[in-house]
């Protein structure tokens, strides 16, 4: 993955996009072979420190329903006994970054809208200032209007963060919107990678062509 740039991971259901993210965070372990993150091989010993360097957001947000927004966001930092003042100032930065009002901090996830929940989930992922952000279909569960607005905000946010972002989506248009580096996966392997133009104009094989057809995009779109 290139530094400080957004990579979009795309492919049909079951092609291994989410699994790739879970392998990187050690949520699943490979039945054969090994996983390396930043040149470091994942082991049971180093997995927790590596997780602290990765921000991870899933489709449903994964917010803990029994904790307030603030507690959700600061859970890992408190667990690591980070300085209280540092935590407070970090929350302030993140609120501004994801454009949420401060009043929301004391609410519970069930009292938030879908879009707000994903913004909180993003805050939580960014709390420890990770080097890498992994987003597993973060917008898939949102309705089109909210989704449209959040896409814009996210793109601006990625530009400001200048972090390595890996975003999983099944929507080619969304992938193209976020990144000019699109990785199309098929049955656990990379079918083709390149810009949106590359994919449309020079599909590498029959699967890529079929995938593009299913997205209802035409070469001259």
């Amino acid at each position: 993955m290139p530094d400080a740039a957004t990579t979009a991971l795309i492919g049909p259901s079951g092609c291994g996009k989410s699994t790739l993210l879970k392998l990187a965070t050690g949520l699943v372990w490979p039945s054969s072979g090994s996983v390396s993150v930043d040149g470091q091989r994942l082991t049971a010993e180093n997995i927790r420190s590596i997780r602290h360097r990765i921000g991870y957001v899933i489709q449903s947000g994964g917010l803990f329903p029994h904790l307030t927004v603030k507690d959700n966001v600061t859970l890992a930092a408190r667990h690591l006994r980070r300085d209280r003042a540092w935590i407070e100032s970090r929350i302030g930065e993140l609120l501004e970054l994801v454009q949420l009002p401060e009043e929301l901090l004391d609410r519970y996830p069930s009292e938030l809208s879908g879009g707000q929940r994903q913004r909180v989930s993003l805050m939580r992922a960014l709390m420890l200032d990770p080097e890498v952000l992994l987003l597993d279909e973060p917008l898939a569960a949102l309705d089109p209007m909210v989704r449209f607005g959040l896409q814009d905000d996210l793109k601006n946010l990625f530009a400001r963060l200048r972090k390595s972002v890996l975003l999983v989506t099944h929507d080619l248009a969304e992938a193209a919107f976020f990144s000019d580096r699109i990785v199309l996966m098929h049955e656990g392997r990379i079918a083709q990678q390149g810009s949106y133009r590359d994919l449309i104009e020079r599909p590498a094989n029959e699967f890529v062509r079929a995938f593009l057809r299913a997205q209802r995009v035409t070469p001259d779109a």
């Binding site: 965070t25 927790r48 991870y56 329903p65 667990h79």
Partner: protein
């Protein structure tokens, strides 16, 4: 486990001083009256004695005596021969005395009555037909017999009796014991089987026909004690020898069963009339009784439930983490749950004796499964999303458990504890069967005496306690899930 319950037992039994004489009784009126009488007489002699009433059946009392949980209790020679020493060929009273002595048990002489089977009929009918003893029945083949079903079957019941006396009657049927009394009273049958001291003999004004050919085995009433009790205890009990005949005993039983008098009062009155001894019956008010039962009941429930929570919640967590633990734990807990409460109590007696110990262990065992299941289910129900989110945050396993898993499973765990508590409160009423007291005590006594008021004195507080517990845990559940 054993040492653990021993500690509990010690804590709970610490109220009883080592020197007092504990008199036990079985779960039926006659036994309670006799034990009460003995306790009061001992007390009047200045011997510190307590009556632990309605502890159970023969096996409970006998093993309690051998273990030293109780020191004395009223027993019948026939029961010792036929049940306790069954198959050992104990025949005569001397043999029985020797056998008892070998077991470290001292026996008094007969208290004066033989509580065996007898045949009974209405006095007016007997008089009209001039029947005075069992052998007279042979002269009246037209008599209609109605026997309890057990008596019809037993070799030492009707089949043997018929042969021994050459009884010619053909109208003989089995029926329920209580119905037989009513049928006798209404004239639907003429003769039925009775125990020699049944209260009904008094109530229906029946004639108990003497067993003039000695067919029925002897069930002489005696007191047995641990041989180690002090001599003055034995001497006091010997005062009772030959002091109560069958009619007197039947009358005393009737005072309890028909007149609904407190056994303590009956014993006190009898002691005054028969022995000129003024005793203290220690009668107490209904409120103080209920309070006492409440303390006993709450004690059983609280200790067993707390122990179950301490064991079952960690076990549920372990079962959630490890499938093998889950398999073994659930298999054991499931089996335990299927053991009937009474059977479980009886199994525990050889190890733990009678009283609080086995009751608490049994209640503990019954409380484990609901808490274990709900802890496991509560954890297993946490969405994969949430578990993975917690893991991806880089929390340690302990932090995940504390901050995420246990709070999310709390509702289910509390529901499990609530179920266990309510089951526990209900089951604890059985504790009275083995002398642990509680609300079961008045219920048992009420059933025995057919006294609805007494039954309700136990049943209503038990129901209220169950409702209160439901309410408290319900409120706790709502507080825990306020945010969901």
């Amino acid at each position: 486990m054993r040492s653990w319950s021993c500690i509990l037992l010690m804590i709970l039994a610490s109220g009883a001083s080592a020197r007092e004489v504990i008199v036990g009784s079985k779960v039926f009126t006659e036994s309670v009256i006799l034990a009460e009488l003995a306790t009061q007489l001992l007390d009047a002699k200045g011997i510190d004695a307590v009556h632990r009433r309605e502890l159970g059946g023969t096996s409970v009392l006998w093993s309690g005596l051998l273990r030293g949980d109780i020191d004395c209790y009223p027993e019948y020679t026939g029961t010792l021969r036929g049940e306790v020493f069954a198959g050992e060929g104990v025949q005569s009273d001397e043999q029985l005395r020797d056998t008892l002595a070998q077991a470290g048990v001292w026996a008094s002489g007969s208290l004066g009555f033989d509580n065996t089977y007898v045949l009974g009929m209405r006095k007016d009918v007997a008089k009209r037909l001039s029947i005075a003893r069992t052998s007279d029945l042979a002269k009246h083949p037209e008599l209609r017999f109605g026997f309890s079903n057990e008596f019809m079957r037993r070799a030492d019941g009707w089949p043997g009796l018929k042969r021994a006396y050459g009884l010619p009657q053909t109208d003989v049927r089995g029926m329920q014991h209580d119905l037989a009394y009513r049928a006798l009273a209404s004239g639907a049958i003429d003769v039925t089987d009775l125990y020699a001291t049944d209260a009904e003999i008094v109530h229906y004004d029946l004639l108990a026909l003497p067993d003039d050919r000695g067919f029925f085995p002897n069930y002489d009433s005696i007191f047995i004690c641990r041989a180690s009790v002090a001599d003055d205890v034995k001497q006091t009990l010997q005062v009772l020898e030959d002091s109560i005949d069958a009619q007197t005993m039947a009358a005393l039983n009737a005072q309890a069963k028909l007149d609904r008098l407190d056994e303590r009062y009956i014993a006190q009155r009898f002691a005054a009339e028969r022995f000129n001894v003024v005793t203290s019956a220690g009668l107490d008010t209904r409120m103080s009784r209920i309070w006492q039962r409440t303390r006993e009941h709450l004690g059983m429930v609280a200790v067993s439930l707390m122990a179950a929570i301490l064991i079952a919640v960690p076990l549920g967590i372990a079962a959630f983490r490890n499938r093998n633990v889950a398999r073994v734990a659930f298999a054991i807990a499931d089996v335990l749950q299927t053991v009937p409460a009474l059977a479980l109590l009886v199994f525990l007696i050889p190890w733990l004796g009678i009283g609080y110990g086995p009751a608490i262990v049994a209640l503990f065992l019954y409380s484990v499964l609901p808490i274990l299941r709900n802890t496991h289910a509560g954890l297993a129900d946490i969405g994969r999303d949430l578990r993975e989110s917690a893991e991806a945050l880089g929390l340690s396993a302990a932090a995940q458990l504390r901050h995420i898993e246990l709070p999310l499973a709390a509702r289910s765990i509390i529901a499990g504890i609530r179920t266990a508590a309510v089951i526990n409160i209900g089951t604890a009423t059985l504790g009275a069967l083995i002398g642990a007291g509680g609300y079961g005590q008045p219920i048992l006594a009420g059933i025995r005496l057919d006294d609805l008021g007494l039954i309700l004195e136990g049943a209503i507080p038990a129901a209220l306690l169950a409702l209160l517990t439901q309410g408290l845990f319900g409120a706790l559940e709502r507080r825990v899930v306020k945010a969901k």
